[in-house]
């Protein structure tokens, strides 16, 4: 295929940098009023588009709202259960058009959530995909470094998961060079996929990396591990590999350190997922030579919010979904009363420093209406004066189901614990945490597999110290618990999480079940961990 066959690539031939920036990143320069105008316009278009479909009629009760207010007033907040009867297992008859593709994510109970993507929606997702790459590599406005045929290393879940679907179909729009190739990227084995990717990267080089933060940290950390040495393979003799290794060695010598990934590849952009990205930001920059660039996306909405070029807060994209936000007090009410329909606010009503649960309505013929995805975001500021972006700056906080509430006084989520562990300089393989009860009082139980042994009591003390420092409300919790500890640590022997993974793989578990959930793992997962821990102890 020639370059002009890729819809997004042709612009790289005809537009200069300023124009490219305007096309792909110009949404960052929208004012709040313009943002809301786009939202409202597209919402009304969406209603016109889907109102006659059986699915929308079921959700909207047959009504056809003619205004945003009417839509918000008359259409209830929905969950996947409302759509499952219509679109589960790839059914298409209730949709407005035949989807371009389907992707899914596994629900908690193992029921897949199938989400259809229309061509019109993915056209825009692809455009934002280019924007992400452009912004990831930019150091300032109109700093366009992306070129067609840039090499993109991916080690995310393959199709039909969202990340795999995104990258697979993105290749129809932009002629990037995927590493590994798309067919190899379909390999469900994560390790095999990752190893192949980096082996190919040694040959071809990398311009962009799209990965989970902790994976990149681990890979980077393995470079730092003095015990690890490069295994000799015939591959290393290939001229490209040899020259790359040589140059990397030279760079490391000039910098007087071990070889780091940045010496080998020096990617233009580092695009990362994961709540731990802010925690590993400096480490990733040290290892890979680029400040990681964050994107917030889910299977239901592949790209929801992106950072600016200064890699600070994220901004919601204006023309993929209509965004609504449930204030914290409303979602608490809804937790206590299952029948309570929480009220929502819009983008122009957000307040800095507050947390909101996300609700969105698809545009461009996609099916979800006022869909409560269960994600919580925090508003950092209403604008970024540094970059001149006048839209609210947000960060992904946690999944609503992955927040542990302790005595109603404080909330602990994955990010908090990650930060606490990082601040306490705990070296670990993996962990998970859940709420348990002692004499009727809730506390946090942390199951931790260390890479450097430390006593559990010391860890409990350190973690509490960190939580106390990080969270004012935590101090109140201690008072509540009186002499009892709010954090209890259960140390797991080395290899417990690895064996868990291996056991799940051997049982054919889906991706999401290969590891226990970090927050609130199921009882079965905890029991499996503890059983495997005992087995490890006996070995």
């Amino acid at each position: 295929m020639v370059e002009t066959d890729f819809p997004e690539a042709r612009f790289f031939r005809t537009l200069n940098h300023a124009e490219l920036w305007q096309r792909y990143c110009g949404f960052l320069d929208l004012s709040r009023e313009e943002f809301m105008a786009i939202q409202q316009y597209l919402l009304l278009e969406q209603i016109k588009l889907v109102a006659e479909t059986p699915l929308a009629k079921a959700i909207m009760g047959g009504s056809k709202p003619s205004s945003v207010e009417e839509f918000r007033r008359n259409v209830p907040i929905t969950s996947y259960e409302d759509y499952a009867p219509h679109i589960s297992d790839g059914r298409e008859d209730a949709l407005v058009e035949k989807p371009h593709f389907w992707c899914h994510t596994a629900g908690r109970g193992g029921n897949f959530k199938w989400i259809p993507y229309t061509r019109a929606a993915f056209d825009r997702v692809a455009r934002y995909g280019v924007a992400v790459a452009m912004l990831a590599a930019a150091d300032r406005r109109e700093d366009v470094r992306l070129t067609p045929s840039d090499r993109l290393l991916v080690n995310l879940a393959p199709r039909p998961y969202g990340s795999g679907s995104l990258l697979y179909h993105f290749a129809e729009y932009f002629p990037y060079t995927p590493i590994p190739p798309l067919d190899a990227a379909e390999d469900p084995d994560f390790r095999r996929r990752t190893e192949l990717a980096f082996r190919l990267a040694l040959h071809q080089g990398i311009d962009y990396i799209f990965s989970l933060s902790n994976v990149l940290v681990k890979i980077g950390a393995s470079f730092s591990d003095q015990r690890k040495r490069l295994k000799f393979t015939p591959d290393l003799l290939a001229p490209s590999v040899f020259s790359r290794l040589g140059l990397a060695w030279l760079r490391s010598k000039v910098a007087r350190r071990r070889v780091l990934p940045r010496d080998l590849w020096g990617p233009k952009g580092l695009i990362t997922f994961g709540v731990d990205t802010p925690i590993y930001e400096s480490e990733l920059a040290r290892l890979w030579g680029r400040v990681p660039y964050q994107v917030y996306g889910t299977t239901e909405m592949l790209i929801s919010a992106v950072q600016g070029w200064n890699k600070k807060g994220m901004v919601f994209v204006p023309d993929l979904a209509f965004w609504e936000f449930i204030p914290e007090e409303e979602w608490r009410k809804a937790q206590g009363n299952g029948n309570h329909q929480p009220a929502t606010v819009l983008m122009d009503e957000l307040e800095p420093g507050k947390q909101y649960e996300l609700v969105f309505t698809h545009f461009h013929g996609m099916p979800l209406l006022r869909y409560r995805i269960g994600d919580v975001i925090r508003v950092l500021a209403l604008e970024d004066t540094n970059s001149g972006v006048k839209l609210p700056q947000v960060m992904f906080q946690a999944r609503a189901s992955e927040i542990i509430d302790l005595a109603g006084l404080t909330q602990v989520d994955e990010r908090t614990l990650l930060q606490a562990l990082a601040n306490a300089e705990v070296k670990y393989e993996d962990w998970c945490a859940r709420k348990e009860y002692r004499q009727g009082v809730g506390y946090l139980r942390l199951f931790l597999e260390l890479t450097e042994p430390r006593p559990a009591e010391e860890l409990e003390r350190l973690l509490e110290q960190q939580l106390r420092t990080m969270d004012v409300d935590y101090r109140d919790l201690e008072g509540w618990l009186e002499q009892q500890r709010a954090v209890a640590v259960t140390l797991l022997p080395r290899g417990t999480f690895r064996r868990f993974y291996d056991e799940m793989v051997s049982q054919g578990a889906t991706l999401v079940h290969l590891k226990p959930s970090r927050i609130n793992p199921t009882q079965a997962e905890v029991e499996r961990l503890l059983r495997l821990a005992k087995t490890a102890d006996r070995r």
């Binding site: 200069n16 940098h17 096309r23 929208l30 105008a37």
Partner: protein, 977 residues
């Protein structure tokens, strides 16, 4: 042979190149304050000009020493302008300079300057066949390579820009500069070889010429206008100067040798100065028409558009004018005018080309917002670039693509987007030029004004028509309402008219006090049960369904005297435009009408009620009432007055009083008296007067009149006459007078006898027979006197109801016979007979009263048959009526029918010549009647004048139950006269 150093072909090119470069540099530099690219290019051109000028000086040097000096100056200039070229190209193509470009350029300039000043660039000059040629030092070569590098980078930028250019004009501009740049580059390369002809200056000249073409034709750096203007002024100056110079030369030659030449020349100068301005204006006009043809076209286009759109009312005409005018000045394949519709869309009202005809755009579309915000034309490729436009829905994008719309020109008025001119592709797929965009922008501005005027006119017109129709409908409704007889029908008509005028789904009128009902609803329009809050549904037209609209769009209260009496509600059609303020005003008017109507109904009802009461009162008045207006015209006559005046039912009483009185059966003197009386009262102005008149006719009457003035608000003099029938009163008065007279006489006569005879007895010694005779008379007169007094007492008791009757079973036979016997003494000339059947049943009566009745009747029979004769008492039984009838007949003078009617009333006496000597009080028969009626009997008589009379009375038999108790409680009717 000309020396190469004197060859014009050798000397002229650098001079021309210098002039051209400096001119262009000045033009570009004049706009340098606008942008960086202008500054860089001006620097480059001026540098070029300097280089060319120095080259000229070098070539005109007399020897090589001087030439080398100039060469040492011009070579650095030639080298230094190369970075300027690079920076210009990068700036112009909006590219990015390479990192460190500026420090490198600075370093290069410094190096060149340093080497040049040290004389390390040029060694010496040599003279060749074509002219001077420099011999370079070694350091020159790397410097020139660097310069070539700068130029090469610049050319690469231009090439990249050329490839990226989307606009035809832009591509041509860049192509010209690209091509133009090769010439000096090639020339300078040739200059490096001493044996080659110095072609760089030719290259420079070519570059200048091509740049000028690019500027002129393709608006490079937007200096074409300045270029054109400069050329125009030069031409104008030449046109003006030529004749002036010619005239001056001619006059100077002609006046040579004339002593007054200075004067002549002075006068000539003055004349030429005076003619300068008009000549300049004429020249400028001619030049402008040639040079600024486009602008003339624009002005003519706008004039044409204005001329065609003379009628402000014709919106369609204005739109079609645009359709005619625009494609004639801009070679486009299609054109459409989009105007806002009633829905929230811009729709194509006129279009050429089928693809644009169906184009429509949401008013909230990002495209519309962009045009409203930026207020400048938008080319279609920009839809893929601006973030606002990128958010456009696929539906609209596909519509735009299908319509092949290439250019969108906003029509903005009062900061609002009032329309969009959409142009299809330009012929031959060329891009729209800057001039064309300007033309379209100015045209759209004018069109916006014209269309807005037309729209405003149409809106105002239609509003005016609408209001006029509403007023007419309202007037007609008000008229109908005023004339409606049935109030409810009138209200229904009101509600129906309101619904029609408002084009409402339904209109409901609720009244809380209408006809005393708790609440009444009158509706117009189809109402569903859901709207009715679950109440009755259906067509509420006039049937009083309860249709309270819970969410009425309009709600206007209706006020009455006592406060709110209801409300008028209106509900618009679902999905229709909401009611406007005008609609509310209309509904308020109808509410006012309803209020007036309701008040009228209330007043009418009240008036009718009052009138009814008044009529009833007047009809039940026993007194007659006549109301006279001004000029004694009868305004009102109540039934009693009509009856009292003896008027028949059919006369028109609204006549003059005189005429009315002529109609009434009044005696002449009474008529005249009445008229005089009325006049007297009127003249007396406000006093009350009384009079009496007599009305003759079948029922003669005596009427008492009371006249009284009736004050009016209008100060009209009205007079009221109250007529009271006093006939009975007067009759009673006359009877009383008569009774007094008769009673006095009846009392006086026996008293006179008593006094006389007793006086005689007391004063005289009379013989015993005379004494006995006198005492007998005294006894008799005393008895008469006693009887009279008894009669009076009886009458009084009967009238007051205090007379008691003791009912018992009485045997009539012995009673009648005894009474007849006792009355024999009254007359010796009469034969008294009693006929009582032996089987006559007993009666239930008061025995004493019965005797009194029989005695009275016998006494009257005797008195009123003075010639004597038979007086018979006949008793009969009427078993079917359960009564006994006693009849007392005589053969006396008889009684006339007129006397018969009053015979049983008080004080009535028969006044005929035959009765002159007959003494009596006139109370006897009244007493008989009263007593008989007390005993539940009846009295009647038969008589004829001259044939005697028979008086009857009936008494119930003893078997018939009495309606009085044994105690003899009185019937209430007894005692009434």
């Amino acid at each position: 042979m000309i020396s190469p150093l004197q060859n014009p072909a050798y000397l002229l090119p650098p001079l021309l190149a210098a002039l051209l470069s400096v001119l262009l540099g000045a033009l570009v530099g004049w706009r340098a304050r606008w942008s960086t690219q202008h500054r860089y290019f001006a620097l480059f051109l001026l540098g070029n000009g300097l280089w060319s000028l120095l080259t000229y000086f070098m070539r005109t040097s007399p020897d090589t020493q001087q030439a080398v000096l100039w060469e040492r100056a011009l070579v650095p200039v030639a080298l230094i302008i190369s970075p300027a070229f690079y920076f210009f190209t990068v700036s112009y193509t909006r590219g990015e300079v390479f990192r460190g470009a500026r420090p490198v350029a600075l370093a290069f300039i410094v190096a060149v300057a340093a080497l040049a000043s040290a004389g390390l660039l040029i060694d010496r000059m040599e003279v060749k066949s074509y002219g001077y040629t420099p011999i370079f030092h070694l350091p020159f070569y790397p410097m020139v390579l660097m310069a070539y590098l700068w130029i090469g980078l610049g050319l690469a930028s231009l090439y990249r820009g050329y490839r990226a250019a989307k606009v035809y004009e832009e591509r041509n501009r860049l192509l010209y500069i690209l091509v133009a740049s090769f010439f000096p580059l090639a020339g300078t390369i040739a200059d490096l070889f001493p044996s080659a002809y110095p072609a760089s200056i030719l290259g420079n000249l070519t570059f200048g010429a091509l740049t000028m073409v690019a500027m002129r034709r393709y608006h490079l750096l937007d200096v074409s206008l300045a270029l054109r203007k400069g050329s125009a002024y030069l031409l104008v100056s030449t046109l003006v100067a030529l004749p002036y110079v010619a005239i001056i030369i001619i006059v100077t030659e002609v006046s040579r040798g004339i002593s007054a030449q200075p004067v002549v020349l002075f006068v000539l100068m003055v004349v030429l100065a005076l003619g300068l301005q008009p000549l300049w204006g004429l020249g400028q006009q001619v030049v402008d028409q040639v040079f600024f043809r486009r602008r003339w076209d624009l002005v003519r286009t706008l004039e044409e558009l204005t001329r065609r759109s003379r009628s402000v009312a014709d919106l369609e005409r204005s739109a079609y004018n645009l359709l005619d005018v625009i494609p004639s000045v801009v070679p486009t394949e299609g054109f459409a005018l989009l105007l806002p519709s009633d829905g929230e869309e811009f729709v194509s009202v006129v279009a050429s080309g089928a693809s644009l005809a169906g184009l429509h755009l949401s008013q909230n579309s990002p495209l519309a917002r962009w045009l409203a915000k930026h207020r400048r034309p938008l080319e279609h490729y920009y839809l893929d670039m601006d973030p606002l436009l990128l958010a456009m829905a696929d539906r609209e994008k596909q519509l735009l693509v299908a319509s092949r719309a290439h250019l969108f020109v906003p029509m903005v008025l009062r900061e609002q987007l009032t329309g969009i001119l959409v142009l299809g592709p330009k012929r031959a797929e060329a891009p729209y030029s800057v001039d064309e965009m300007r033309l379209l922008t100015m045209t759209s501005a004018q069109a916006a004004v014209l269309l807005d005027d037309a729209r405003l006119y149409r809106t105002i017109s239609s509003q005016f028509d609408r209001e006029r129709r509403r007023l007419e409908a309202f007037e007609a409704a008000a008229r109908r309402l005023a004339l409606a007889e049935d109030p409810k029908q009138a209200l229904q008509g009101l509600v129906d008219t309101a619904r029609s005028l408002l084009d409402a789904r339904y209109v409901v009128l609720s009244l809380r006090q209408y006809e005393g009902a708790q609440e009444e609803w009158i509706a117009s329009g189809r109402v569903t049960a859901q709207q009715n809050g679950g109440g009755p549904s259906g067509d509420g037209h006039g049937d009083g369904d309860r249709v309270p609209p819970p969410d009425a769009s309009l709600n206007v209260p209706i006020k009455g005297r006592g406060g709110s009496v209801g409300a008028l509600y209106a509900v618009e059609h679902s999905g229709a435009v909401a009611f406007s303020e005008d609609d509310q005003r209309v509904l308020v008017l109808f509410a006012v009408l309803a209020e007036v109507l309701f008040e009228n109904i209330r007043l009418y009802s009240a008036v009718e009620h009052e009138r009814g009461m008044l009529a009833a009162i007047q009809a039940s008045m026993a007194e007659g009432l006549v109301v006279l207006g001004p000029s004694e015209r009868v305004i009102y006559l109540n039934p009693a007055a009509r009856d009292l005046l003896g008027l028949a039912g059919g006369e028109d009483v609204r006549v003059d009083l005189r005429e009315l009185l002529l109609t009434a059966p009044l005696e002449d003197n009474s008529r005249a008296a009445l008229e005089g009386f009325v006049r007297a009262v009127k003249d007396a102005a406000g006093t009350v007067g009384t009079a009496e008149v007599q009305v003759s006719g079948p029922q003669p009457r005596e009427l008492a009149l009371t006249a009284f003035p009736i004050p009016t608000a209008t100060r009209e003099r009205m007079l009221g006459l109250l007529l009271r029938d006093v006939t009975h009163e007067r009759e009673m008065e006359r009877r009383r007078d008569m009774f007094v007279s008769v009673a006095s006489h009846e009392l006086r006569t026996p008293l006179a006898s008593l006094v006389g005879f007793s006086e005689l007895l007391l004063t005289r010694r009379l013989p015993g027979t005379s004494q006995k005779d006198f005492l007998t008379r005294i006894h008799r007169e005393s008895l008469r006197l006693a009887g009279l007094v008894d009669d009076l007492l009886n009458v009084s008791r009967i009238q007051s109801g205090k007379i008691a009757v003791q009912l018992e079973t009485v045997d009539l036979r012995p009673l009648v016979e005894e009474t007849v016997e006792k009355q024999r003494y009254l007359s010796t000339r009469h034969r008294l007979v009693a006929q009582v059947p032996p089987d006559i049943p007993k009666v239930r009566a008061d025995q004493d009263k019965l005797v009194q009745v029989v005695a009275n009747l016998l006494s009257n029979a005797i008195k009123y048959s003075p010639q004597g004769g038979e007086v018979k008492v006949v008793v009969s039984h009427e078993p079917e009526l359960k009564r006994v009838v006693v009849g007392v007949s005589d053969q006396g003078i008889g009684i006339s029918e007129e006397d018969q009617a009053e015979l049983f009333s008080k004080f009535h006496r028969i006044l005929r010549p035959e009765t002159v000597g007959i003494r009596g009080s006139g109370l006897g028969l009244y007493i008989v009647k009263g007593l008989v009626e007390l005993m539940e009997g009846t009295v009647w008589m038969r008589s004829r004048v001259g044939e005697g009379s028979t008086f009857y009375f009936s008494i119930p038999t003893a078997e018939c139950p009495s309606d009085k108790g044994e105690s003899g409680a009185l019937r209430p009717e007894v005692g009434r006269p």
